[in-house]
Amino acid sequence: MMEKTIKQITFILLLSTLLGLARFYFLKDDDFTLIKVARVLQAAEVQVSDSGEAVFTIPDFMTEPMMASLEFTKYFFDNKKAVFVDARESEEFELSHITGAINIPFDYYDEYMDAIDVLKYDDIFIIYCSGGECSLSLDLADVFFGEKAFENVFVFEGGLPAWQDAGYPTE
């Protein structure tokens, strides 16, 4: 009885695997590989000025969104040169967010087109969400960079948790 059940399970799993592989064969998407590769963003560059301070510069031309470190993010927060975008849901945003950030929840960004369209394409955007567990910021960065053709899009991967841990301003 048990042996029969195990044979049935094995058959179902094998058949599913074969059908899944057949589906892969007919899938027309070059980016979709059998073994998925994690996407790693290139980190923004840091230079040290004559006085020994870290100075961050924006590349002249970016081919995809770049990764922003905590230091990079704080640097652009202090000199007020960047627009901070919170990609989480509005309820989470209302609880706490980086001071001055605007909220564009990735899951509903279609509804926020009016807010996106008033942004300047050559501004510096630093997008964040809830840190390591969260991919909303990366997804929204792809929309900003790809669909909306904004030039300088950065993802602050540490997100709100890293910002709060460092004791930086939230509201």
């Binding site: 059940t5 399970i9 179902i12 799993l13 599913s16 899944g20 589906r23 059998l34 899951d107 509903y108």
Partner: protein
């Protein structure tokens, strides 16, 4: 209760309900494994390398299980797999909920549904729903014992 279950042939009813649910759940994912793979990423429970493979194979398991439950072919194997899958779904949605991850579960539709209000509320509903389905799957597996109850 037992009388009620016998009168309405609960194991058969459970088979049709679960079968329909699993077939319905599989179709969108078979059509769009790319989005489903992103749904799997969001659970943060498996190594990213295997998520595309899982997105390709898992929906077919669901479809075959659904067909088995309805036709009665390979019923024992299908009901054990159903129990295993549902227990797994309950576990992964619960762990995501406990860790504070808000996610579009990818249970039935792979694309984000803008009409869906509160994601966390939806996750709780999915957990409850899967527990109900799990009970049905257990009834299907123990259908012989069920018939012998006088």
């Amino acid at each position: 209760m037992i009388k009620f279950m016998k009168k309405y042939n609960l194991p058969l009813l459970a088979r049709f309900i679960l079968g329909a649910v699993f077939i319905y759940a599989s179709l969108d994912k078979i059509a769009d494994p790319v989005s489903f793979s992103t749904n799997i990423d969001n659970y943060h429970i498996s190594p990213i390398a295997i998520n595309n493979l899982a997105a390709l194979i898992l929906p077919w398991i669901e479809l075959i299980i659904g067909l088995s439950l309805i036709t009665g072919v390979f019923l024992d194997g299908a009901s054990i797999l159903t129990i295993g899958l549902l227990a797994f779904f309950i576990f992964i949605i619960t762990q995501a909920y406990m860790r504070g991850i808000s996610l579009e579960c990818g249970c039935f539709k792979t694309a984000v549904d803008p009409s869906l209000g509160d994601l966390r509320q939806d996750m709780l509903w999915r957990i409850f729903e899967d527990i109900l389905f799990l009970v049905l799957a257990i009834i299907v597996y123990f259908r012989h014992a069920f018939r012998e109850i006088k």
